[in-house]
């Protein structure tokens, strides 16, 4: 035989032997098996902990031993049982938990929000305000009012790095001096309707604040009397639905100035979603129809749609809770990014409502895990840090909670706020906006640091989206 074919055969059989030995070992390693000392059980099925923190590059200490890499990192070869994990970064309070590890399983400490040693409050405007209203959009914005006239309203655009102040109405506005009596807003919509009294006449102005000079449209003539509720789809610039005092619903086309009366009757609460209008009858039935009032049905929507409706309009909360099989005196609900989870709060409790398919297979379409039960008077709650944390406005203070707490809740008081004023948090900037107690200055606190780009293996970057659902 020639040299080369002989050499090929020899190397082939060597490689075959290597494969025969190495392949099973690698597969066992992949499945989490390691060879431990006999006192540790010999051949052990291990688990792992994935740790990522915000801000990144924090030191990870497992059972007193520092990991080789800073977060984000995977700590492998952990024997089943509880392990003490500390995530430590200079300037932040060390995060400590006793975390359970199960053989062949991964425990994810994903996107752990580190709390600064001291929260830094920054004054945005050195003026006392009495009203704070949040508007969605890109960027989101705040309406802050110093007094009761239209001239007192300031529009604050919440850009990623800097906030910009704009007057809502120009100095020469025809509504100058008008008294503001109320606002109508819709969850996730950049538009709002402001109710004013100008020359002793009620007026309703539909406002699009997205342009540098906000556009206001007088829609008073389209409304028949004082509406009980105004509703529109978040990005719809054309149609507004008005729930009148006589429990009828009218559709108003603000572009063509047309009224489509009575598309729904006998309605006590209104919601709009996915080109459909939802109404709640006095006897608790949920009906829906298209924009022209056609195809009326009483079919119960999916839980995720019910949650969006309830987030739009608190009047839906009670019947929606009943549909979801949740017996809770809810005050508010807000869907998470993936809508399979929602944040729900009552006067004293904050919980995670889960309506993922696994839960839906049970008798009830959703279940709630209460993660905070010692509230005094919970008014607002926000998903924070890509839904991994929760901000709760309880009585006069703001609290920060971990969503996953392994039975060891971490409760951090962030700041005190003005008693009656609302607060606003957006993950787009990671900032909490609020009025300081007493002085009522518009201020902010950076709750979630900006995320620098960290190259991560596909599993780790995908995990951020997947694990929770």
């Amino acid at each position: 035989m020639s040299i080369m074919p002989l050499l090929r055969k020899i190397i082939f059989y060597i490689f075959l032997a290597v494969y025969g030995v190495v392949c099973p070992l690698i597969i066992l390693r992949m499945l989490g098996f390691i060879v431990a000392p006999p006192e540790a059980g010999g051949f052990v099925k291990t688990g792992l902990i994935y740790v990522s923190a915000n801000p990144p590059n924090a030191r990870v200490i497992v059972d007193g031993v520092a990991a080789h890499e800073t977060a984000p990192t995977v700590i492998r070869d952990l024997t089943p049982g509880d392990h003490d994990i500390t995530i430590d970064l200079r300037g932040y309070v060390p995060w400590r938990k006793r975390v359970p590890v199960i053989g062949n399983k991964a425990t994810a400490l994903d996107n752990v929000l580190l709390v600064p040693a001291a929260w830094k409050t920054r004054i945005l405007m050195d003026t006392d305000f009495n009203t704070l209203i949040a508007l969605a959009g890109n960027p989101p914005s705040l309406i802050a009012a110093r007094g009761n006239t239209i001239d007192d309203i300031v529009l604050m655009r919440l850009n990623k790095n800097i906030e910009e102040e704009d007057a809502l109405f120009p100095a020469q506005s025809i509504y100058k001096g008008a008294r503001v009596t109320g606002y109508f807003t819709v969850d996730k919509s950049p538009f709002f309707v402001v109710h004013i009294i100008d020359d002793n006449k009620d007026k309703y102005l539909w406002v699009d604040p997205r342009e540098k000079q906000p556009h206001a449209e007088d829609i008073t003539e389209l409304l028949i009397g004082e509406p009980k509720q105004l509703m529109w789809e978040a990005s719809d610039e054309k149609n507004i639905f008005a729930l009148q005092r006589d429990m009828t619903v009218n559709r108003l086309n603000i572009k063509s100035k047309a009224i489509y009366p009575g598309i729904m009757e006998n309605t006590q609460a209104l919601g709009v979603m996915d080109n459909a209008v939802f109404g709640l009858t006095p006897n608790g039935l949920l009906i829906h129809c298209d924009y022209d009032g056609q195809n009326k049905k009483t079919t119960i929507p999916q839980p995720k749609d019910l949650i969006v409706l309830a987030a739009q309009n608190p009047d839906f909360l009670i019947p929606v809770m009943r549909y979801l099989g949740i017996s809770a005196d809810a005050r508010g609900i807000t869907p998470g990014h993936e809508r399979a989870l929602a944040l729900i709060w009552t006067k004293n409790r904050v919980g995670i409502l889960d309506h993922s398919p696994q839960t839906s297979a049970d008798e009830h379409p959703a279940s709630v895990q209460w993660i905070y039960s010692r509230g005094q008077n919970i008014v607002q709650a926000f998903w924070v840090n890509n839904d991994d944390n929760i901000l709760v406005r309880d009585d006069g203070g703001i609290l920060l909670l971990d969503k996953e707490n392994f039975g060891q809740p971490r409760l951090t008081r962030v700041t005190d706020v003005e008693g009656e004023g609302m607060v606003y948090y957006t993950d787009k900037t990671g900032k909490l906006y609020y009025l300081t107690p007493g002085t009522r200055r518009l201020s902010w606190i950076q709750i979630v640091p900006h995320k620098p780009f960290i190259p991560a293996p596909i599993a780790e970057s995908l995990l951020i989206k997947k694990l929770e659902h």
Binding site: S2, M4, L7, R8, K466
Partner: protein, 549 residues
């Protein structure tokens, strides 16, 4: 063995078997890919285990191939300085030459020693076989160039290279196999080139291949067969014994190394049972290498590397592209198939089956250079490369014929049938599937991970293991980059370090080009064969000017 190597004129039973065997490669490729995708989605743990086992298998195979790529390249490098003419002359007086060889000393010249060592082994084998070669002056080379749309800019350099051979050109006969349907300017170019070089060779003439001959397809094999038959007629008239004739069937753009015919003559002479052998040089694609886009350069360099690796395994070597063979064997097996696109590999299988397994391919460590597929624009070049690779992958059409031949043959040992059949099948299967598994499917368990899998250690360990394996594979890539630089035509290496770095970085395109310009055309070819949508011969675009952006 009398086996009709064609899918035409079959009995009903043969046709049924042929059709089933045509379906098999494509079906297995698709089943493999779809099964893996489904496993990744619905049984991610099983898929993960399979994928890791596959990754490791691929890594070891890559390492294995890299070892032999390096060895083969070293051998090519060593043999480039071999004086083939001196060896040929020596073999004309074989006994004295063998004695003389035994006395040669090389001191510290390890490369020359190795070449001589191999040479002595070959001489011993020849001597032991008792099949003494004909005198070198009696050997005639018949070179056939099929032409359909190649102009003087392509065929001129090809002939010039033959005219400058380090071998008596009066022992070379050149034939242009010109398609009747070729356009006027092409015919004029062929005529002009023939006239220009006629005096250099024993003979140089054109054979016009008529279109539409019954039983023939519009393929290269029909054209060159027509030319070979004409040549046979002329050789008979000249009383030249066929066993002294070596036929080289070259693509029209083939520019041979100046030692090619000397090297070929040596291998023909030194090979026992030389009438049962084909001679395979190492194809390189240097004619227009500096004028083609990076992805095309990388793909074709990869093809050269594959051939280098294959050259180390003569037991399983199959003829590819431009190559040479015994003319007597060609005539005895009935010339090239006239209805198959992959005539280059088909002629080997035809001979192998005809001679009951007593036919082989002898690797030659000399190069011949061809054009990289290149069209007017970048995008057309992509399409051109895709179509060329699909045509190459259409070599899968040999699988049903070879299996039918094996089933019919009683002379070929069962082990050889299984070994060759498996290699042919597995080669096409891995060509069409491996790049997809490595680049796309391997990630699917992680991408489609549901709650249970995402919370397992496997979910985290797969990317870790995969990245370790890919990092090790990068070593092989680095070796390929170095060898590709070394293999480049020396006269053109006048580039700055920046340019060289650019050439090296082109290799980072490998994962993309392997999927879209290798695996996809292969899967396309297998799918067409599976569906009975047979390909027609498509002549590759070749240019020696850069494509427009």
């Amino acid at each position: 063995m009398d086996f009709h190597y064609s899918k035409q004129h079959l009995t009903a039973g043969e046709a049924r078997l042929q059709r089933r065997l045509e379906i098999l490669p494509g079906a297995v490729s698709w089943i493999s890919l779809v099964t893996l995708v489904l496993l990744s989605i619905f049984f991610p743990f099983t898929a993960a285990i399979f994928i890791v086992a596959f990754y490791l298998c691929w890594l070891l195979r890559l390492l294995y191939m890299t070892i032999f790529l390096v060895l083969s390249y070293m051998r090519l490098d060593i043999e480039q300085k071999t004086d083939w003419r001196a060896r040929i002359c020596g073999m004309d007086a074989l006994r004295a030459y063998i004695e003389n060889c035994g006395q040669k000393k090389f001191g510290r010249h390890g490369r020359r020693w190795f070449s001589h060592f191999v040479h002595r082994r070959e001489l011993k084998k020849l001597s032991a076989s008792g099949q003494l070669p004909p005198a070198s002056k009696d050997i005639l080379h018949l070179v056939i160039f099929p032409v359909i749309k190649e102009g003087a800019d392509i065929i001129g350099p090809a002939l010039e290279a033959i005219a400058r051979q380090n071998f008596p050109t009066r022992q070379i006969m050149v034939i242009f196999a010109l398609e009747e349907r070729a356009k006027g300017p092409v015919k004029q170019d062929v005529s002009a080139v023939t006239q220009k070089y006629a005096s250099h060779f024993k003979d140089c003439f054109t054979v016009l291949h008529p279109s539409g001959i019954p039983g023939e397809s519009r393929v290269k094999g029909a054209n060159v067969t027509c030319a070979a038959k004409a040549a046979a007629e002329r050789l008979r008239q000249d009383h030249v014994p066929f066993e002294h004739v070596i036929v080289s069937c070259f693509d029209a753009d083939t520019v041979v190394d100046q030692n090619y015919f000397a090297c070929l003559t040596y291998h023909f002479m030194v090979t026992p049972d030389r009438q049962r052998a084909s001679f395979q040089p190492i194809p390189v694609f240097h004619n227009n290498i500096w004028h083609v886009p990076g992805f095309a350069r990388v793909i074709e360099t990869g093809s050269s590397f594959c051939q280098l690796v294959e050259a180390t395994n003569p037991e399983k070597l199959v003829t590819f592209s431009s190559h040479s063979m015994s003319f007597q064997a060609l005539v005895e097996v009935g010339y090239w198939p006239v209805d198959m696109i992959s005539d280059d590999s088909a002629i080997f299988w035809k001979c192998y089956i005809h001679y009951g397994g007593r036919y082989r391919v002898v690797p030659m460590y000399t190069t011949l250079s061809m054009d990289v597929a290149c069209a007017e624009t970048w995008w057309r070049t992509v399409k051109s490369v895709y179509k060329q690779k699909r045509r190459w992958a259409w070599g899968v059409e040999n699988f049903p014929l070879v299996v039918r031949g094996f089933l019919k043959s009683k002379e070929i040992p069962l082990y050889e049938k299984i070994r060759h059949g498996f290699k042919l099948f597995e080669g096409h299967l891995s060509w069409a599937t491996w790049a997809f598994i490595l680049s796309i499917i391997g990630w699917l368990p992680v991408i489609f991970a549901r709650k249970e899998f995402a919370a397992s250690v496997v979910y985290y360990n797969i990317p870790d293991i995969a990245s370790t394996i890919f990092n090790l594979a990068f070593l092989c890539l680095a070796i390929c980059i170095i060898l590709s630089m070394a293999l480049l035509p020396k006269a053109n290496v006048r580039f700055s370090r920046l340019k060289k770095a650019g050439l090296a970085l082109e290799w980072l395109l490998v994962p993309v080009s392997m999927v879209f310009l290798s695996a996809l055309p292969a899967l396309d070819a297998q799918t067409r064969l599976m569906m009975g949508q047979y390909l027609e011969f498509w002549v590759t675009d070749k240019r020696r000017t850069p494509p427009a952006r």
